[in-house]
């Protein structure tokens, strides 16, 4: 049953991806990429990664779709026709895909208990989390307590990303606001 469910979701994902490649209207591309994110979120929930699924639905399908739409507002909604032949990019994409598929052959099977990540540190965390922290959700105790430094770094990365976007876009907008007659507004 779960196999069938995953198969249908993956087929939908492939169909949406082919749609994104084929469609030349950028508005349709943005909507399709939102649909892609929702399918991906459903797949993540099927893989029991509910927190990742929530993030994917809220960021991938929600906020970033809106951001892409507001970027679309500033540009043309039709994709410009290609100036060069598509053969070289196509070959490069196929080659990269083939290398990635080749790379998955060495990956351990999904959920295999004998992999390094499930046998040394993972077991240790599972055994020690409840006696040491009394937090029932091991994901939270690992992220916020055992690996608190990493999460602090992660928060600092988000902070830096926000500052970076502000420096790129906000400053320019302020300049535009100062002299209203620059023709664009």
């Amino acid at each position: 049953m779960e196999f069938l469910f995953n198969l249908i979701l993956l087929l939908f994902l492939a169909a949406v991806t082919i749609g994104i490649i084929g469609v030349r209207n950028l508005f349709a591309v943005v909507v399709l990429s939102g649909a892609y994110s929702f399918l991906m979120a459903t797949l993540l929930i099927a893989m029991d990664a509910v927190d990742v699924g929530m993030t994917e639905a809220a960021v991938g399908a929600g906020v970033s779709t809106v951001l892409l739409l507001s970027a679309l507002h500033l540009t043309n909604t039709e994709e410009a026709p290609a100036k060069h032949s598509n053969v070289l990019p196509m070959a490069l994409a196929l080659l990269t895909g083939a290398v990635l598929v080749y790379g998955t052959w060495d990956l351990p099977r999904y959920g295999d208990p004998d992999t390094p990540m499930n046998s040394y540190v993972g077991d240790e965390y599972l055994e020690r989390s409840i006696p040491e922290t009394t937090i029932p959700n091991v994901v939270t105790s690992v992220l916020a307590s055992y690996r608190g430094y990493d999460t602090l770094g992660e928060t600092a990365v988000i902070f830096t990303a926000g500052i970076g976007v502000l420096m790129l876009l906000y400053g320019r907008r302020r300049k535009g606001d100062d002299d209203e007659g620059d023709g664009r507004s």
Partner: protein
């Protein structure tokens, strides 16, 4: 979107539940899936929905960009501040056991709660701030 009655009514009903769900994800992170990051993006998505339906100006009346510019670094400061505070109490950086002198596990719960609050603040305000700058450029 003044004319879209159904969208306005439905989102007015939905937004409180979205925010409620975000708070649930935030404070239930110790027990179920979720935490500061997930709650932060849900809060941001709820506010972005509000801005889409009622306009950027109405949204900025509720949360001004200046407030967000304070909230973004404040979250990181809360997180790092917990670490410094445990330092002052005599432990290692981010050693939550120090936060409660009687029961170390209470300290852990308190530490995780504070740290997740910092993450929520930074993530949601960064998302909203990026949205503000993007959406404000078109006009």
């Amino acid at each position: 979107m003044r004319g879209h009655l159904i969208l306005r009514v439905v989102s007015k009903i939905l937004i409180p539940f979205l925010l409620m769900f975000a708070l649930y994800v935030q404070f239930h992170g110790d027990f179920g899936p979720g935490g500061g990051f997930q709650a932060g993006v849900i809060v941001a998505a709820a506010f972005v929905l509000y801005a889409l339906i009622f306009g950027l100006r109405a949204m900025q009346k509720i949360i001004s960009p200046a407030l967000l510019e304070i909230a973004v670094p404040l979250g990181v400061l809360i997180y790092a501040g917990v670490g410094v505070y445990t330092w002052i109490l005599g432990g290692n950086f981010l050693d939550y056991n120090m936060l409660d002198s009687h029961d170390p596990s209470h300290g852990q719960h308190l530490g995780v709660l504070l740290v997740e609050a910092g993450v929520l603040l930074t993530v949601s305000s960064t998302m909203l701030l990026i949205f503000y700058t993007f959406a404000g450029r078109g006009r």
